[in-house]
């Protein structure tokens, strides 16, 4: 551990020292969907703190609100009530533009169905968050090339998504999620569409990211996968059922 800390350079060292710093915090959030007359409350007051460098899995039966919570954490949706702090920013009062900006600057998304843009090459897909951040093109290209190599796709830069296997596509998605150096990486069932071998590769990558100090929140159905994370949160009917730390 100390060897690694040294090799990670100064800023990583600083981050390691201030570990257990809160990167995100939800406070008593609820979510209610209105379908005509009918109001369906999906989240019933969830409060959680997420710490820097943590690897967290969220579990629970289908329909318990995992994706709903992830959407709120990802600033794609806003809670009906309660507060959500991302870093030092309260997102509850943000307008659409501010939410877009914070998504682009502080969050990385990995979806079950990869969600790459089919017209764009591997490299262009990875660059996309940087593009919306207004990064200089040259620098973006450099970052994207490096990340593609890191997820083992250095030889597929100009390929289109449909020319890649599911596992490869998901690795592109991971590289894309890393490109803007986000505060949190959000993954909603990232291995849900993959066979066990490809799924294992993805999880190995997650382990690596965790070791490098990234903060990861992953939704999964599998206890086995959740085992690999440090902290397991179980939801049931829109409430936190349990919140355990394993390592």
């Amino acid at each position: 551990m100390s060897m690694q800390t040294l090799s990670m350079g100064n800023d990583r060292l600083v981050q390691a020292v201030v570990a257990r710093q809160t990167v995100a915090s939800v406070q008593d959030i609820t979510k209610t969907y209105h379908m005509g007359e009918l109001a369906v409350q999906v989240l019933h007051g969830i409060s959680l703190d997420f710490y820097h460098g943590d690897y967290i899995s969220i579990m629970g039966p289908s329909g318990c609100g995992k994706s709903t919570l992830m959407n709120i954490l990802g600033c794609l949706d806003q809670p009906t009530s309660g507060r959500y702090f991302l870093g030092d920013k309260d997102t509850s009062q943000m307008n659409d533009n501010e939410l877009s900006a914070i998504r682009g600057a502080r969050l990385g998304f990995i979806f079950q169905s990869y969600n790459l843009i089919p017209q764009l090459t591997v490299l262009e897909n990875i660059e996309l968050p940087l593009f919306y951040q207004g990064h200089p093109a040259e620098e973006s290209r450099h970052i994207a090339t490096e990340l593609a190599a890191r997820v083992g796709l250095g030889d597929r830069l100009e390929h289109r998504p449909f020319e890649l296997s599911g596992g490869q596509q998901q690795r592109v998605a991971i590289a894309r999620a890393l490109s803007n150096d986000p505060l949190i990486i959000l993954a909603d069932e990232p291995t849900g569409n993959l066979d066990s071998k490809s799924g294992a590769e993805i999880l190995n990558l997650f382990d690596e990211l965790h070791q490098q100090g990234k903060t990861l929140i992953m939704v999964t159905h599998s206890d086995e996968l959740a085992e690999r994370s440090q902290r397991q949160i179980r939801l049931r009917d829109g409430r936190v059922e349990s919140d355990e730390r394993s390592h």
């Binding site: 959407n71 990802g74 794609l76 949706d77 659409d96 533009n97 877009s100 900006a101 998504r103 682009g104 600057a105 998304f109 979806f111 969600n115 790459l116 843009i117 089919p118 017209q119 764009l120 996309l128 968050p129 593009f131 919306y132 951040q133 207004g134 990064h135 200089p136 093109a137 894309r176 803007n180």
Partner: protein, 451 residues
């Protein structure tokens, strides 16, 4: 002035403009345009069919305007050649004389047309007439050595070239003295010069008409617009093979009565003057003077054996008809561009629906609503702009083809393609706005869930 520039609001605007000029924005624009081109390219045929309306609209307008512009230019050029201060009075053989004659073989004598007295009356009663140039026009064969050519021999006065804006290619027109002395001098048209003197310089040579020799003292410039310049009742439509001689000489040599072998027998035709150009000092008065001349001639003649032409009125008509063409072209443009615009809106709506998920992804990765609007708007403008560009190319080619194969004058002005192209690009913006905004207003979560 300086105070205004230093106002914080103004400075903020400058700041914004400066920001937008930064290379980062240009790169973003270029990237967005690239994505637009890619997705247009991905649906090649569909995109092509979509812009067809714009292509046809733009091409139709440009070529219609080019043809109309060309026709009006040609007409105006012809009428200008007649002189916008001129009124042209001509002798016309009345139809009643043509019909009569029957089948008796007795020589027939007919007399019609303008007289010297008509011209004198006109000149004396109407103020503001600066000059009158009468002419007699007689068909004659002209010979030089072994060659001969059928020409209109025009007996006229010294001001004829000035009044018609004709200039001489070589030599000079005849003078006052030659006129008074009834000299046998001739100025020949370019066509006659080329027919009779293909190799040699005609100046100083002699030509023979009816046994008399005439000295060539000048050659006219070729006439670009001859159709309306030609005169004389019954003369052919042939090229202006003309010879100009002093009116005095023409009267003296040929008299006023023409004897002709007609189908009905020998015909003696008496015409004093075939044509007179009446120049009016003030252009404003030309049309009024034309009407007065008409009235005078009506009183003096039993039959309508004359015609009064006012080139200025014809110019006005040509201008009016050009304007009408432009209005029609505008209406066609409006309709086809509207249809084209609706096509673009339709395809953009389809594209937005097809790419709902892409929109969701982009939003998740930090795209603002504005970015999404921009992306689809750029795509719509590229579509309509490409359509407009193809339309401009076709619209310029069509008049060229018309000119080559039908010999029509066509004029593509700079403004027509420019305007048509700008409007087509604007169509992209106008009809792209709704689809783009509906794309931007999608809920990111819903969009990501889209199949």
């Amino acid at each position: 002035m300086n105070e205004a520039i230093k106002h914080p609001a103004v400075l903020a605007v400058f700041q914004r403009i400066k920001l937008h000029l930064q290379p980062v924005y240009w790169t973003r624009f270029r990237k967005t345009a690239e994505v637009g081109i890619k997705s247009i390219h991905a649906h090649g045929l569909r995109s092509l069919l979509t812009v067809l309306g714009i292509v046809i609209g733009v091409a139709a307008v440009i070529s219609m305007l080019a043809v109309s512009e060309g026709a009006s230019f040609e007409a105006q050029q012809q009428f200008r050649a007649l002189g916008s201060n001129n009124i042209i009075v001509k002798s016309v053989k009345p139809a009643s004389l043509e019909a009569s004659g029957g089948n008796n073989m007795r020589p027939q004598s007919i007399s019609y047309g303008l007289t010297y007295e008509d011209i004198l009356t006109i000149q004396q009663t109407i103020p503001g007439i600066s000059n009158v140039i009468p002419s007699r026009i007689i068909k004659k064969d002209v010979r030089h050595l072994g060659r001969d050519i059928s020409t209109d021999v025009v007996g006229t006065t010294i001001d004829y070239p000035i009044s018609r804006n004709y200039s001489l290619r070589a030599g000079r027109f005849f003078s006052e003295e030659e006129m008074l002395a009834q000299r046998n001098v001739a100025v020949i048209s370019d066509e006659v010069a080329r027919a009779l003197f293909p190799m040699t310089d005609p100046l100083g040579e002699s030509i023979r008409i009816d046994g008399n020799y005439y000295n060539i003292i000048g050659v006219m410039e070729p006439e670009a617009y001859s159709n309306l310049g030609r005169s004389q009742a019954g003369s052919s439509n042939a090229a202006p093979t003309r010879i100009f001689i002093p009116l005095s000489a023409a009267r003296y040599r040929f008299g006023e009565t023409l004897v002709r072998q007609a189908s009905s027998g020998v015909e003696m035709e008496t015409v004093e003057l075939h044509e007179a150009i009446i120049q009016v000092q003030d252009q404003e008065q030309v049309e009024a003077v034309g009407q007065i001349i008409e009235q005078i001639l009506e009183r003096r003649h039993r039959r309508v054996d004359y015609a009064v032409e006012v080139p200025l009125a014809l110019i006005r008509q040509a201008e009016e008809s050009a304007l009408r063409d432009q209005i029609v072209a505008g209406a066609i443009a409006g309709i086809s561009l509207l249809v084209g615009g609706i096509g673009i809106m339709n395809i953009m709506l389809a594209s937005v629906t097809e790419r709902t998920r892409e929109i969701g992804i982009r939003r998740a990765l930090g795209a603002r609503k504005k970015d999404i609007v921009q992306q689809f708007l750029i795509e719509a403008v590229i579509l309509s702009g490409v359509g407009g560009l193809i339309g401009v190319v076709i619209g310029i080619l069509i008049p060229v083809i018309i000119s080559i194969f039908w010999g029509m004058t066509t004029i593509v002005t700079v403004t027509a393609p420019l305007l048509a192209f700008s409007i087509s690009a604007l169509i992209g913006v106008v009809f792209g706005i709704y689809p783009s905004i509906s794309a931007a207003n999608m809920d990111p979560v819903e969009a990501l869930r889209h199949a």
